[in-house]
Amino acid sequence: MRNLVLGSVLVALVVLAALLSFAWTPFDPVKVDATHRLLGFGASHWFGTDKFGRDLLSQLMVGARTTLYVGVVAVGIAAVIGTPLGILAGMSPRWLGEFVMRVNDLVLAFPALLLAIMFGAVFGADTLTAMVAIGIATIPSFARIARSGTLQVMSTEFVLAARAGGRSRLNIALRHVLPNISGLLIVQASVSFAIAVLAEAALSFLGFGTRPPTPSWGRMLQESQELLTVQPRLALVPGIAIAVAVLGFNLLGDGLRDRLDPRLAARG
């Protein structure tokens, strides 16, 4: 329960910042202002300004949009493709299931960042290619989790009872397997969301993600590195923002899992 509350608060913080940034930011996040360069924490620029005089808080708020956008799309791609694939592999005859999983292993062997860099080289580096690449690289973990959950559910007596009741395979997959593995999937989604946020930050840091001038937490980190020893604030602010988002989604996932499982909810 505590996880759920804390996770929700942290995620809500990021979501609110992103939503608010559509209507209002303290300053124009991309406006260069040479007279106010490298200001520290202060009353007008709360988190200070970077080497171009851009307001850090405004960049952070707009960057939250990018972060959420990437997470939602990447996890969406992975869940929508990976989950049915895993359920299919778990319910089909053994040879077909094994085949799907071996192909899955092949994709899994590709590091997400490498795939994203490759995609960036081929299709041009921007937020969209980064999201799609991270999403594709995350499919195998969903397929894997979905399959192991499916195998477990398929061996239970209630699936046998469902078949004895004349239920079709599709019906069993949708009404018996999916609800019973949703807890697993939600946890996987939250973990993947956190990984996607990190991956986007890493890609932007490497110059394969969000293109300037669109603010991104990863690129803020990258731009901070040459001034790391003089102005650690520039790295700390986006770093903490990334940590808050990652931690928030992880806690939210844990909390949701406990909450959504009717058996666990009854005890708690």
Binding site: A161, A162, R163, A164, G165, R167
Partner: protein, 243 residues
């Protein structure tokens, strides 16, 4: 004959099993664990695991079940054929309300039924919105029974439906099976409890190591057993003491 099984074999675990059950007849299948009782039941339902194919013949109302496709079989299951499993704790989907679970066989076979009515018929009014974990073992077995009986099957197979329950609940479930099974439905009742067989079944089959070693009316088999194994079963049970 409602059900006619001829020379049914499953790998080497069930060998050349033959029996018949008429409309309205209650037949017991007894034997120790591992004797092939449950496999026989699963073979009739067409629910054997893929690596265990069945051979022989299983005819339900002039239809050969072993030759039917999975699709045709699933049309029969839950409608003409129904089964109650041993473990009520795992026979219900933990993530689905029981009201939805009991109406599902009907919905699949195109009938509209009210969950409340089906549950009330097994003595569980007002539980439609409960999840399985909120019910006791006996209550869950009633739900399983309500699901199996929802479409008035012509053959109901009960695979040790009372083994996991305590004695008083056992008696309630047994009387529920006896009273709520339609009069012209056939019943195959699998158990290793001879007292249960004596109270439910008119005829009994004794199974040992995958074969049926004795068959006859319950009275005959339980009072004058012909096969050594049946005698041993009787000696090992406390049936005599209870009578």
């Amino acid at each position: 004959m409602t059900l006619s099984v001829r020379g049914l074999s499953v790998s080497s675990l069930v060998r050349d099993v033959s029996f018949e059950i008429g409309a309205g007849e209650r037949v017991g299948l007894i034997g120790e664990s591992g004797s092939g009782k449950s496999l026989t039941a699963l073979a009739i339902m067409g629910l054997l695991p893929e690596e265990l194919p069945a051979s022989g013949s299983v005819v339900l109302h002039d239809r050969e079940l072993l030759e039917l496709s999975e699709k045709d079989l699933s049309r029969l299951r839950g409608d003409e054929l129904a089964m109650v499993f041993q473990e009520p704790m795992t026979a219900l989907n933990p993530a689905m309300r029981v009201g939805r679970q009991v109406t599902e066989p009907g919905r699949i076979h195109g009938r509209r039924q009210r969950a409340e009515d089906l549950l009330a018929a097994v003595g569980l009014p007002g539980t439609a919105r409960a999840y399985p974990h909120q019910l006791s073992g006996g209550q869950r077995q009633r739900v399983v029974l309500a699901m199996a009986l929802a479409n008035e099957p012509s053959l109901l197979i009960c695979d040790e439906p009372t083994t996991a329950l305590d004695v008083t609940v056992q008696a309630q479930i047994l009387s529920l099976i006896k009273t709520s099974l339609p009069a012209d439905s056939a019943l195959l009742f699998i158990t290793h409890d001879l007292a249960v067989v004596a109270s439910v079944c008119e005829r009994v089959l004794v199974m040992l190591d995958g074969e049926i070693v004795e068959a006859g009316s319950t009275r005959e088999v339980l009072t004058a057993p012909k096969h050594d194994y049946t005698r041993k079963l009787l000696d090992a049970s406390d049936l005599e003491a209870r009578r």
